[in-house]
Symmetry: C2
Amino acid sequence: MERNIITVDIAIAKLLEEKKYKTLRDILGTMNAFDIAVIFEDMHDSKLPLLFRMLPKELAADVFVEMDEDTQEFLIKGFSDNELKEIIDELSADDAVDIIEEMPANVVKRILRQADPETRKEINELLKYPDDSAGSMMTTEFVSLRPDMTVEEAIKRIRRTGVDKETIYTCYVVGKDSKLIGITTIKALLLAEEDDIIENLMETNVISVGTLDDQELVAQTISNYDFLAVPVVDTEGRLVGIVTVDDAVDVLVEETTEDIQKMAAIATTDKPYTKVGVFETIWHRVPWLLLLMISSTFTGIIIAGYEEKLAGALILTAFIPMLMGTGGNAGSQSSVTIIRSLSLDEIEFKDIFWVIFKECRVSILCGLILGIVNFGKILLVDGWLLHNEEINIWIALVVSITLVITVVVAKIIGCSLPMIAKTMKLDPAVMASPFITTIVDVVSLLVYFGIASLILNI
Amino acid sequence: MERNIITVDIAIAKLLEEKKYKTLRDILGTMNAFDIAVIFEDMHDSKLPLLFRMLPKELAADVFVEMDEDTQEFLIKGFSDNELKEIIDELSADDAVDIIEEMPANVVKRILRQADPETRKEINELLKYPDDSAGSMMTTEFVSLRPDMTVEEAIKRIRRTGVDKETIYTCYVVGKDSKLIGITTIKALLLAEEDDIIENLMETNVISVGTLDDQELVAQTISNYDFLAVPVVDTEGRLVGIVTVDDAVDVLVEETTEDIQKMAAIATTDKPYTKVGVFETIWHRVPWLLLLMISSTFTGIIIAGYEEKLAGALILTAFIPMLMGTGGNAGSQSSVTIIRSLSLDEIEFKDIFWVIFKECRVSILCGLILGIVNFGKILLVDGWLLHNEEINIWIALVVSITLVITVVVAKIIGCSLPMIAKTMKLDPAVMASPFITTIVDVVSLLVYFGIASLILNI
């Protein structure tokens, strides 16, 4: 993304140094908010307030929204009350709420004190909704039309009020009780005759979300139906806001990043990697590593318990990493696939038996293929090629049978745990690979030593 | 997403059975293309052609686009030439290309034969671009304006031609040589005076993508700048098409799914889990499992090589799973974080030393914390609580020192391999956990036995 930004970056720093503020202001004025935010974030903190003050008011608000929370907090702390007020007034209420939710309490108080009464009321209204709900991500700045308006009246209304709206492309038709009764688009209005009545143009089969619906559901709705915006209604069916596609995209990216972090046993954060300090990174990672390290005490106990038997066939230890590795990989193939399918709403809990049945068939065939290859590999490579005299057909058999069982167990646990987690209102993603690996490790070791006792008579 | 669809599903099946085709047609006519596609896909194949024929022409095309490729192929095979022609003519060229790219050659031929000459030319034009490029995902149906038009003329033009356009909300201003010179929006046009000149309203600092740019870059551009559409230009700067936000969302979801699949060592597919058969699933999973299984031969060889030494301190084997598990987890925490950051364009190759330096500091501190806890845990839990007499302070020391080194090595390999892969034009995601785990396993075993030899004198 930063294709052409690098050089602009250097130019801006140079102009700033040479105090060519007029040129600087002109250049910034032609640029895009996102690009400016990227450049400003990389600037030294001391230059930031000066640069920021050069932006025209409206652009300044857009740039502010695109910045990360640390830079936002730094800037707010440097603003005079008047400057803060100007920015807040330019922000749309949903953007203001997004920012407020990340700020410490004293900064929030200052922001709310500076906002004009109407904005403050709107922000407070949105702050009531739980974090990550449709209510907290919606904007109240939408175009509403009455069903008895003509197209000409509607377009006039949009011309008069449209400038402050988040989107004017989808228009919402509401009845007298504020109930959402239909939607129409600017495209439909422009293509219709001027004296057509809105009621006859609107789509009445409206898909909407509730204020308390999870933001992931909202994003999925917009993505599935290819919407530019989705209306948010309260429990009475009254239109209270809309969520636009750009916010939905952010949620999709954010939720996926969080899923990926959970799958890799990292505490979730929506900060980019470059903005998370060393100690914060450690804090995100160490607890999970500790938990998983301590849970592997079980495997240690099992091995220690079978130590005497192992002493009789020490070569068995050489295959433990392979068995555990393959079990872990087989399990995470299933768990990760299921977690992604769950979050894309491709499957739900009622499909669990179908899923288990499918994974059973997959895992038995996978296991057999791996087992047969492994049997041959042990005899040919480890035994014959590497001249290991401890290797014989019975050792190969023990390892290969264990491998088949491990793969089957791993895949069944891997597919069912995330689905069970979801029904228990837990996050399926935290059930991913590392946890499943620990369980599979224990099971495969017990199977390994059990089968070894039987076949090798140790 | 399937909240209210289930019951409609049953109703449709019932109406079909009772042959109430008129009611059925009315119900389908009010529904959304995505919902109809979901329901139709779950219907028995024998009912599908009949149901599909009940849809009004335009809706039928929209539903067709939303269906998965197997259902599309099944339907096409059942269509008469005339039916096929009707659907193709209703499709936008970019949707037609998406479908054609997934179809077998004989079906493609039939589609191209039925398309009217102009559509066929457009499809062939788009098919020239590589799969996954901006060119192959763009549509050529956009609104173009001339710079010297007045707002009134522009709106008239949009009214006349807008019905066939993919979006009318962003309008593209092109010069006489087809060069893209600016963009404007319907919003700007509606809020301007009727006799304003387009040239004075348009934004000239246009962000565009090239026809050969990767689809991921296109999607990131739309997502970063909160665009509804991005213009696609050829090497001469001529406007050849646009990509709209709904297609960008699909790409973001698809690319993330593929990244997640690669991280879990599964062959990538954009088919939903429910649509992939048992044998296909096995085919996606077995090659990687085999590769990783065989690569763990190295760990086996190392353990077998140290067998004699191990016989002298057999308790050391009990900690191998913990060391490998923690190494694997520590490595995948880093690799997964870096892979995600790379695909969100937060970091690039030039940051590699900064990243390695950060991961060094993180891993040394992480390693020390884990090492200290582990040292205490071995003495307290394994030694004292579980009365294992083989455990002593020197064993605990060997294991803990190895643990620290393993975590550091794992994190440094975990962060650098994906970045190196990216520079070598390989996919960073395939370098994820399983590969890194194999390398880390080998290193940690060598370190383990090396330190054990030194400290325990075995």
